[in-house]
C-alpha cells in the first residue's frame, strides 16, 4: 500500500453499526426516528431533527439523485489509480440525506444534476465497505 494514501478508517459506534453492517451486505440501511419519523444521515448519532435516540433501521432502495460530481486526478485511494469519479447524491426516501459514492464505471458521466442513479456497496479486502454507483435510472 502506498503509505501516502493511508487514511484513518471509519470508526464504528453503536449508533452507526447498522449502516456499516448493511453496507457490508450491499444494502443501504438508514435509521428512521421512532418519534418524528425522519430518516437520518448514515452517521448521525441521534435523530438530527428531534434528537431522539429511539430509532429503527430501515433498508432503503438505493435509489438516489445526482447532486454533485468531481473527478479526482491525484492518487487518492490505494488500489484505485486516478482518475476517480466521486459523486454526491441525495437519497430518494429523504432528499436531505446525502451520500458520497465512488463511480468506478463512470456511469454518472454526462448525466445532468438530479439524474436518477442506483447505489450499491463494495467492500475492500480490509473489510471497509463504501458506496458505489451501480446503475443509472430509477
Amino acid at each position: 500500500m502506498d503509505s501516502t494514501l493511508d487514511r484513518p478508517l471509519p470508526v464504528t459506534t453503536l449508533e452507526t453499526e447498522p449502516f456499516w453492517e448493511g453496507a457490508r451486505a450491499g444494502r443501504l440501511v438508514l435509521m428512521r426516528c421512532a418519534e418524528c419519523g425522519r430518516l437520518a444521515p448514515p452517521l448521525a448519532p441521534r435523530c438530527p431533527a428531534c434528537l431522539s435516540a429511539a430509532r429503527a433501521p430501515q433498508t432503503c432502495s438505493g435509489r438516489v439523485s445526482l447532486r454533485g460530481r468531481t473527478v479526482l486526478h491525484l492518487p487518492a485511494l490505494p488500489g484505485h489509480p486516478p482518475p476517480l469519479v466521486v459523486v454526491e447524491c441525495a437519497v430518494a426516501e429523504e432528499p436531505a440525506v446525502m451520500l458520497v459514492a465512488l463511480d468506478p464505471e463512470g456511469i454518472s458521466e454526462r448525466l445532468p444534476p438530479g439524474a436518477a442513479l442506483r447505489l450499491g456497496f463494495a467492500t475492500e479486502a480490509n473489510g471497509q465497505a463504501y458506496a458505489v454507483v451501480a446503475g443509472a435510472g430509477a
Binding site: 501516502t4 493511508d6 487514511r7 484513518p8 478508517l9 471509519p10 470508526v11 452507526t16 448514515p42 452517521l43 447532486r67 454533485g68 460530481r69 468531481t70 473527478v71 479526482l72 486526478h73 491525484l74 487518492a76 485511494l77 484505485h80 482518475p83 476517480l84 466521486v86 454526491e88 441525495a90 432528499p95 436531505a96 446525502m98 458520497v100 459514492a101 465512488l102 445532468p112 444534476p113 475492500e124 471497509q128 465497505a129 463504501y130 458506496a131
Partner: protein, 387 residues
Amino acid sequence: MSRAAFRDVVLACPVSVPYERFSARGAQYFIGTALRGLLAEGGLAKREVDGLCASSFSLFPDSGIGLLRALGLEATWLDTIPLGGASGIVALRRAARAVESGDADIVACIAGDTCAPGGFREATARFSQASQDAVYPVGAGGPNASFAMITDHYMRRFGAVAEDFGRLCVAQRANAGPNPRALLRKPITLEEYLASRPISAPVRLLDCVMPCAGAEAFLVMRREEAEARGLPHCHLLAATERHNAYADDPVQERGGWAADRETLFAAAGVTPAGVDLFQSYDDYPVISFLQLEDLGFCAKGEAGAFVAAHDLSTTGDFPMNTGGGQHSTGQAGAAGGFLGLTETLRQLTGAAEGRAVPGARIGLVSGFGMIAYDRGLSCGAAVLAAA
C-alpha cells in the same frame, strides 16, 4: 433580540510571520514568533498582554493553555478557537467582548501553523470524524474534492464557467505583486489558469490555495488603551458569526453571511456600497463567489459577472483581497482565517506599503471555515473602520 453593539473596541499591531512553503519547526514556534512581533510592534512588555486567543490545526493535541506555558505568559482570559478559516472573525468577536467587559485589557489574537512535507495530507486525514467516516473510504477526504463538489454544483446551477473563476484568480495574483509576504507573486494569465491541470475536476491547480507554514496576529483592546499608548488602530464597527447555517441545502450554495448581512451592515451603519475594500476568505474561488453574493455585493449567481465588471486592484472600483489573498500568500493553516484582518488593519492604518487603497475608511472582512466534506460549517464577517 438585537445584539449589543461593540463599544470602542479597536484592533492594533498587525503581525505576519513570514510564510514558508514547508517547515520542520513546530506550530508553537510560529505562534511564539507572532507574539514576539506583537510585543515589538506595540512596545509592550509580555506581562501587559493579559489575554490570549489562539487558533491552530498543528498545535493539536495542545490548545491555548499549553501555549501560555510554552511562551511564559500569564493570562486572566484565554480562548482557543478551532474554526479554521472562521477563526479570525470569531477570535475578534470573543476578544472584543473580553476587553469591553474588562475581563482583559490587551488580548493577543494569534493563528499559526506549521507545514511539514506531507503534513497537509496528514492534517487532512485527521481533520474531522465526519470526513473520516463518510468519505475517506471513497478517496474523497480533502478540501479539493469538497470544493470541487461545491464548484460543480455552482457551475451547473448558475451557469458559471471556468473563465468566471479564472478572472478572480488572475486579479488576486496581480494584487500580490507588491506584497512582499506573498509566496506566489508572479502574475498569471487567464490562459495559464485555463491550462492548469485538473486536480479534482472542475477544480484546477490554480483554483487551489497552497498550504504553507506561518502565522498572523493582531491585538484587541479598548480605544482609550490604544490612544494612551499611541498605537495606530482601527475600529471594530460590527461582526457576526453563524455556524451550521442552511444545513438542509443539499449542496452548499450559500453561507451564514446571507442570514446575517442585514444585521451586520445595520450595526456597522454602512451599506455594501460604502465598503472601500473587501477581503474574502479565498481558499477556492467559488467560496469567494458565495461571499460576494451573500454579503450583498451582487445577486445570487452573479458573482462571475460582478468580478468581470469590476477592477479588483487597490486603485480599482472594488479593491478585493488587496494583498493577493491566501491564493497568493499561501494558506498557513488557521492563519488563513486571520489574513483578511491583518491586511485590512494595515490598509486602514496606512501601513499597506506599496499597495494602499487610496482613502480607504471602511473594510469588510469575511471568514469561512471547517469544511465538513460537503460544506463549510462556519461563517463570519466583520466591518472595520479607520480611526
